[in-house]
């Protein structure tokens, strides 16, 4: 275990002497370009990769959404077939939740949490890389179902014997993101495992399973990081609110994902091995799937929304020139939301025949969760109150977040009244409700975060007029698309129907909704192009362009590899703002400088281990298709996974020393970290 001694501190990692790991392989520490990105353990680069993949999948999910809306633009349209429509809405929901919002939140966790708590990296840098690549491969497996589907539709698979033997030929999942058994499961007795759907469901099961592993690994990492790696003086009640929400989200993930993991394993066993967990004809209980799914699925909603709430809680004080109103209440209400989030799952099941007593209990608990949510809105209002509101793209988006989220919250309160909900459940009213929460709320919040922190991430300022135009289009298009859906739901239009008949009075509003969706899609696209352009060509800006409040703004932009040249010691909440304007300065520890900062070594092993999931993820559905020898692909995948983890364990942690500028807070540009 020889690392530090091998390396004298260097100014830039490319100056390092080649070093072999305990396996005898050269460590990829000195690399640049592609190799560097594939082997990186730097939380900032991992955050950027998470963000890039998430934005790509936002566009994929957006295209799916526009195809859905195009199909519904007029009655009895045949833009897509019934099955294709079902696949589109399934993949739209799954993509937006697991491949769009969650990884974009993870991008913020990765980039910001160490900076906000004054740390130099996350607790387990290689595990962090493993989370990233596992997410990437899980997303790949899930979307690979589309390639099989299109190959099937194009007729490329027709000549295979296994293809001729298939009963169902849907290759992309068509169960909805909730995949209710027994539609997703099996029927019949004696372990026949007869199915209602094709291998698309198997792709979905394994894809979500792999994505869950990525989320769990990342969550353990962030809990350890936030608890253990805070700078001196950074007590829990001095944590920036975004970091607090990250912590709560991570705890929610590790408590919620086991439920879906169990459910997915049971469903997989039903389908692949003839188990009978959800098979009613063999005594299984379809309602069990719903309980397991929603005790994951409801906390999942808060997993999606709490990070956006954290982002908004950072942006509002910055542009109101005023500390967050009621910091402790905001933090505690976040925790209460997280806690109550586990107590309301059955409000997704009001129509399943729970009986009056459980229905009443879950209705009351659902009303109760409106209280901490309302408290957050009151406190954001209190933050603006008496401040000096500066309008910038992030602030406009954050205000949009509050407004849309408030509307979504109101329709949520309507749902909590179970008798009224029995009319709204599975109608377009629900679609309107959760898009106000997840799109008007979460997406606007995340976009606000992107515009807010892009100058920190890339040292470049997004073009404000373009940002305003894009934001305006998003807000206008969003309301045009989803506002009318409240009416459509109340007018009796059910969800997940690929078409509808003329004469029900739904034609005009569907047309308007589709036009709104096009405007919304164009707005999001313009915003993403604006951000993409900014990352490479945007105008360079100062390290603190907004008048930020938390520690990340004390660093140069882009942030150097080691984050803090000297570790900070904080004495108050909003440490950087207080440092400049208040009485309490940030002190710095006497480290870094010529002696250097210890950096973790880069490694191929997280990528190798994750790649095992790619093989296993392809192998399982191919087994279900009946492709000969596909089982060996699964075994190979598990072998690669185990091998990767084993090599990772024995290669040794490595590490090297990087010199930092001597005096903390000095404006010396740190070119070594520029990517």
């Amino acid at each position: 275990m020889s690392h530090d001694s091998h390396h004298a501190p260097v100014a830039c990692k490319t100056e390092l002497a080649p070093e072999r790991s305990d396996l005898g392989l050269i460590r990829p520490d000195r690399t640049t370009g592609w190799t560097d990105w594939l082997t990186t353990v730097d939380h900032k680069k991992i955050g950027i990769l998470y963000g890039a993949f998430a934005m790509f999948y936002f566009l994929v999910g957006g295209v799916e959404a526009l195809a859905i809306r195009t199909q519904l633009i007029r009655p009895e349209n045949d833009f897509v077939t019934a099955r294709m429509y079902n696949q589109l809405f399934t993949m739209h929901g799954t993509t937006m939740i697991f491949l769009g919002v969650m990884p974009l939140s993870a991008a913020f966790f990765n980039f910001l949490v160490p900076l906000q708590i004054g740390a130099r990296d996350v607790a387990f840098p290689r595990l962090n890389a493993f989370s990233l690549w596992t997410f990437v491969f899980g997303a790949f497996v899930l979307n690979a179902s589309w390639f099989f589907e299109f190959a099937h539709l194009a007729g490329w698979l027709n000549s295979f014997d296994w293809h001729k033997a298939l009963v169902y030929t849907d290759f992309a999942p068509a169960n909805g993101w909730f995949s209710y058994a027994p539609l997703s499961g099996t029927f019949g007795q004696n372990g026949q495992a007869l199915r209602f759907t094709g291998v698309g469901t198997d792709f979905w099961i394994i894809g979500i399973q792999v994505l869950g592993i990525a989320s769990l690994a990342a969550s353990f990492n962030f809990i350890c990081t936030i608890i253990n790696m805070r700078a001196k003086g950074m007590t829990m009640m001095r944590l920036p609110v975004f970091t607090w929400m990250t912590l709560i989200t991570a705890i929610l993930i590790i408590l919620a994902f086991p439920a879906i993991t169990v459910a997915l394993i049971e469903l997989m066993f039903d389908r692949a091995f003839g188990a009978n967990f959800f098979n009613p004809s063999a005594g299984g209980q379809p309602v069990l799937w719903q309980h397991l799914f929603w005790i994951f699925g409801h906390p999942e909603v808060y997993i999606l929304v709490l990070p956006a709430m954290g982002i908004v809680s950072e942006i509002l004080p910055t542009f109101s020139g005023k500390a967050l109103f009621g910091y402790p209440i905001i933090v505690f209400s976040g925790a209460v939301i997280g806690f109550l989030g586990f107590a309301v799952w059955s409000h997704h099941m009001f129509t399943t025949g729970l009986g009056p007593v459980p229905t009443a209990a879950f209705a009351l608990l659902t009303m109760a969760i409106a209280v901490p949510t309302g408290v957050k809105i009151f406190n954001w209002l209190g933050t603006i109150w008496g401040g000096r509101v500066r309008f910038t793209p992030p602030m406009v988006l954050a205000l949009g977040f509050i407004w849309m989220f408030m509307c979504g919250g109101f329709s949520g309160v309507m749902h909590s009244a179970a008798p009224a909900d029995s009319q709204q459940q599975d109608s377009y009213f629900v679609i309107a409700h959760f898009h106000y929460v997840l799109l008007g709320g979460v997406l606007l919040g995340l976009m606000a975060g992107l515009y807010f922190w892009f100058p920190k991430i890339f040292g470049r300022m997004p073009n404000a007029p373009v940002a305003y135009i894009a934001s305006g289009m998003v807000i206008l298009g969003f309301n045009l698309a989803f506002g009318p859906m409240h009416y459509l739901g109340l007018a009796g239009m059910p969800r997940r129907t690929h078409t509808y008949q003329a004469g029900n009075g739904w034609e005009n509003w569907n047309f308007i909704a589709t036009i709104g969706a096009y405007i919304l899609g164009a707005g999001v696209f313009i915003a993403f192009v604006n951000l993409f352009w900014t990352a490479f060509k945007g105008k360079k800006c100062a390290s603190d362009p907004w008048g930020g409040r938390t520690l990340e703004w004390s660093l140069p932009s882009p942030v150097p590899e080691y984050n803090f040249a000297q570790a900070p010691i904080v004495a108050t909440r909003d440490a950087y703002f207080e440092d400049r304007h208040g009485g309490k300065r940030i002190a710095y520890e006497n480290d870094g400088g010529e002696a250097g900062v210890h950096m973790p070594s880069q490694s191929w092993m997280p990528l190798v281990a994750s790649a095992g999931f790619l093989f296993a993820g392809f192998g399982m559905p191919m087994m279900a298709m009946g492709v000969p020898h596909a089982g060996w692909i699964v075994i190979t995948g598990l072998g690669v996974l185990i091998l990767g983890i084993w090599l990772w364990a024995v290669e040794g942690p490595g590490g090297y020393m990087l010199k930092t500028p001597a005096a903390a807070g000095s404006p010396a540009p740190v070119e070594t970290a520029a990517h």
Binding site: T351, V371, R388, V389, W403, Q423
Partner: protein, 426 residues
């Protein structure tokens, strides 16, 4: 300054306001599946709870939204702020916080009370509705007929069993002898007496479906392996539209149904009619040929036609197919669409209905039978399934030896004959 701001806001808001106003017209509120036009006590109760939440939310929206808009305008940065002294850093006000939390809880109690009472009310036929809804209290004994129900059920309310399948609903009236076992079940459309509480028993034979007639009651799911129930009551005569509300596979959108609310005397006649067998086919040689084809093309293996073919129990009962206003899971409408539209406009009522149009029905029958599961139609072109994945020609899913995909193909003449035959089944 302010007026300019508000005029801008007004300009932005105008289209939305116009949309909302347009949306509030009576016609928009009373569309076929509107939940805002309740025609029975269950839907009414649900509507009332909904309106309670609406009023609460509107008040909160004006308060909170108004404060937000006010705060953003009032506390916006102004030129010269840069030189002003820094705002005092505050960290909240416990009294304000506690006050707001208490107020929120109070607001929720306002809707919690009607919610709780409505949960119990909508769960099962309320005790006070039972006396007038008991079978013995209203269901007439037809002249010359024996008892229409067993002694033990006399004091019960009418029960209807709803069986969900991919992708149609079957209805049975066990107390009145209209069951699948007795070869008397009713697919797609069922009939209830006006003003009588009816208990609905919900069963599924494959996946989860959901039973929803927006004007009569909110939905309850049909869960395989579980016995769910609900109750409905129609207070106005009319033709009501329902739809499966739980995603149930490829053709979920096509899984619709209807319910006819009729006067109690009409109801008795309807029941009596359901108990009659199909008569001898005397219409034409074409119909005779169609009857033979019904067996030759294996239709009779699944479809029951009492009096003609009695082997089928799996598929919709066709004994009275020509009397029904819809076909194929109530997706195809057997009424003349123009006449129907005219009638709805004339009566200002989407529940009014014209009678079955024979030619529309004939076209629907040919379209439905001719396309289902058949790769190429009579014209040699690929067919578009009326209900993709439907079981009519898709035995593959049963995975039973001998029952492979039959891919039945029909010539134009065969379709004509089959339709002619089915049209005789009134």
């Amino acid at each position: 300054m302010f007026s300019r701001f508000f005029s801008r806001v007004g300009l932005l808001a105008a289209p939305f306001l116009a949309l909302i106003m347009a949306g509030c017209s009576k016609a928009e509120m009373t569309v076929r599946q509107s939940t805002l036009d309740p025609k029975g006590p269950v839907a009414k109760m649900q509507y009332d709870v909904f309106m309670d939440t609406v009023w609460l939310v509107v008040v909160l929206f004006i308060l909170v939204g108004g404060l937000l808009v006010y705060a953003v305008i009032k506390f916006r940065a102004r030129p010269g702020d840069e030189d002003a002294p820094r705002i005092e850093e505050g960290h909240g006000n416990p009294l304000v916080e506690i006050g707001l939390i208490t107020a929120s809880i109070g607001a929720l109690v306002i809707i919690a009370i009607p919610t709780l009472s409505a949960i119990w009310y909508t769960d099962d036929v309320p005790v006070e509705s039972v006396p007038t809804s008991k079978l013995s209290a209203w269901y007439p004994r037809l002249e010359g007929a024996k008892e229409n129900y067993a002694k033990v059920v006399e004091e019960q309310v009418l029960e209807i069993d709803v069986i969900g399948k991919q992708w149609w609903f079957r209805f049975e009236y066990p107390q009145l002898g209209l069951t699948n076992d007795a070869k008397r079940s009713v697919p797609n459309e069922f009939v209830i007496p006006k003003g009588k509480a009816v208990r609905i028993n919900l069963r599924s034979e494959d996946v989860i479906h959901s039973f929803w007639i927006p004007k009569l009651a909110g939905k309850v799911d049909l869960m395989p392996g579980r016995k769910n129930h609900m109750w409905i009551q129609g207070d106005e005569v009319g033709h009501y539209y329902g739809q499966c509300a739980e995603f149930c596979g490829d053709s979920h959108a096509y899984m619709r149904f209807r319910v006819e609310v009729v006067e109690p005397a009409e109801f008795a006649k309807w029941v009596q009619k359901q108990k009659t067998d199909a008569g001898a086919v005397v219409a034409s040689p074409k119909a005779e040929k169609g009857k033979a084809l019904f067996a030759a093309k294996t239709c009779s293996m699944c479809h029951n036609i009492s009096g003609h073919y009695g082997a089928g129990a799996f598929a919709p009962d066709l004994t009275h197919v020509a009397s029904r206003k819809s076909l194929a899971g109530a997706w195809l409408d057997n009424r003349d669409p123009k006449a129907q539209l005219a009638k709805e406009q004339q009566t200002q009522n989407t529940e009014s209905s014209v009678e079955v149009d024979k030619e529309v029905l004939r076209a629907n029958l040919k379209k439905w039978i001719g396309s289902s599961g058949v790769a190429t139609g009579a014209d040699g072109k690929p067919t578009k399934d009326v209900k993709p994945g439907n079981r009519m020609h898709f035995y593959k899913m049963f995975n039973v030896a001998g029952l492979t995909e039959t891919q039945q193909k029909f010539t134009a003449d065969e379709l004509d004959c089959l339709a002619e035959y089915l049209l005789t089944l009134k």
